[in-house]
Symmetry: C2
Subunit: 351 residues, 2 copies
């Protein structure tokens, strides 16, 4: 396993301006310049001023690699691995994470696993080589706790985002999935629906089971029957949503409501409804999950379960920061609250 060489880069000739150069230019020692950089109180205002000016004059750029080398490890990078860069929900989370991270002086490195185990592994290794301070990770289905354990034991703290590895003892920030679909399903039941399907999600990911459980809770509570064909798992995408609607209606034409694993799935359901001549909000009720920004502008506007992406980001960063400070800190698992936001897609009066 030899190292990956980034392209074929000629050893850069461009002579680097170093701390030493600044020192010489200003006429002090390199130690002094270093002290100024980390604004130590033990340097006089006069010299600080002079050094600062000198830095500007010769265009010095701080070298974090050299610094990190000396001060044993990390230089303010953080690895964030999500399932996809171009899925709308990830986009919103990334955006939030970036803001929180930069505010804390941390530079996030985002990447997507594409739901592929070997890609995830490759990224993890690469990021470890770059000595990230820690990982925020949305584990690919099939990730074993031994994979996470290897990361952790190498000295890299990690927090799981959105999903969890089964039986693993690692920090995580997840939505209250069960409560979300429970509320959604209850809402539909309250509107008089009797035949309610659940579509989308992958059976090998933790959040799927939680969301199905919430749906089942509500259905059982109302003593409504759920034949096997009412639950239709499928990896999420708009296209899958289209397919799923067709599948459940084929199974039982009486189905008058579907709770979707995600908004993305719901978009597909909406699209297929149009194609089948079904009017959503009247003939069919649809609930999503996530509350993407698009969801208030779909036609009809989508009733959905909201999870705050800002909360996700903030909680994840807080936890990660905790474990970076102290890897031995007690294990914490945060469950974020969800709220049902009713719009037009269920035909109910808007909230």
């Amino acid at each position: 396993m030899s190292i990956v060489r980034p392209w074929n880069v000629p050893n850069q000739n461009h002579k680097r301006v170093t701390l030493h150069d600044v020192a010489r230019h200003v006429g002090v020692s390199k130690s002094t310049v270093s002290l100024v950089l980390q604004d130590s109180p033990s340097v006089s205002d006069k010299t600080r001023e002079r050094v600062l000016r000198g830095i500007d004059e010769i265009g010095y750029v701080y070298n974090r690699k050299a610094a990190a080398l000396r001060q044993h490890q990390q230089d303010g990078l953080m690895g964030v691995i999500v399932n996809g860069l171009n899925t709308p929900y990830s986009g919103e989370i990334l955006n939030q994470l970036e803001q929180v991270a930069l505010a804390g002086g941390i530079v996030p490195m985002f990447a997507s696993s594409g739901e592929r185990l070997e890609q995830q592994e490759k990224l993890v290794r690469l990021y470890m080589e770059h000595k990230v301070a820690g990982f925020i990770l949305c584990p690919v289905p099939g990730t074993t706790s031994s994979v996470l354990d290897k990361i952790w034991r190498n000295g890299f703290p990690l927090v799981q985002l959105m999903r969890e590895v089964p039986f693993g003892q690692f920090p995580a920030v997840v939505a209250d999935n069960r409560a979300g679909t429970y509320a959604a399903t209850r809402h539909l039941i309250g509107l008089g629906h009797k035949h309610i399907a659940f579509v989308g999600g992958r059976e090998d990911i933790s959040d799927y089971h939680e969301r199905v459980a919430g749906y089942r809770d509500a259905m059982n509570e109302a003593r409504l029957s759920m034949p096997s064909g009412y639950v239709y798992p499928i990896p999420q995408s708009r296209a899958a949503g289209r397919q799923a609607l067709k599948a459940v209606l084929d199974y039982d034409a009486r189905i008058s409501a579907v709770v979707c694993f995600s908004d993305l799935m719901a978009y597909g359901v909406l699209s297929m409804s149009r194609e089948l001549g079904i009017t959503v909000g009247r003939d069919l009720a649809v609930v999503g999950f996530d509350d993407l920004v698009d969801s208030r502008l779909t036609y009809p506007a989508l009733t959905t379960v909201r999870v705050s992406t800002a909360d996700f980001a903030r909680s994840a960063m807080e936890l990660l920061q905790l474990y970076i400070r102290d890897q031995q800190a007690p294990l914490e698992r945060r469950v974020l609250p969800v709220t049902l936001v009713t719009r037009e897609s269920c035909g109910a009066p808007q909230s």
Copy 2:
């Protein structure tokens, strides 16, 4: 200007396994281990084998920082700064860029400027401190060529993506914006429209002017009049699209077609049309720009100008690689071809 400290991280105690440890464990010199890592041909198969095993046994992780320090500079990072992480178009580009980059052994660092100059500047400085090999940058409106010049003169090659700084002599990859809106407008004219508006875009960004120019070209060619209110620039978002439609219809109720600066704007236009009881495809023709994945599933499906995000990514990386190899390489500016994809939103038969 003192350096930004990433949180308050205790000097990591976790004893690092170094190349030296591997050497001692295997019983060779550190130089040999280093040679194995870079799979040099001058090491015998037997020792290579032994070293590789040793690396596994004691769980060594390559330290790119140390390496980069010695080999004068970069360690395979690349800075990518786009305008937003959560805009659909960026998501698609990021996704493509990541794939191309990783395939080349480069780890991309994505960030968003949020269209704010000072944020862009901060990111650039941060990335320079991390010694990225180069930048791919979608310049914030208002970016002067002197800003880019500073980056370039510091030894960091850069390629502009999607937009260009005025009068700057820097490499760029842009879409053939003018041809795109020209084709879109001609399409509408061909369908018999006489009152055609152009909505969206910021006047301080290069692509806006190009797209408006394409629209004007077609209008002039057909001798159609364009009173000032027909062109309605506004920073893009769905909400802006809604507002824009209202504005142009207020200005002239005869307007029967709008070419939008982007698909995102078009989504807003679609949404507002519904609200106003206007049937798109019959009463109003709408054309977008970008061809987001969503655009084939909107209602009605959006006619739009496609620019391949894969082409964008590949071209940008090729150029960057070129300049990383040789900063003196002749200036290149790539204009990517566009194609009009006709769907339902103009009422024309689908292509």
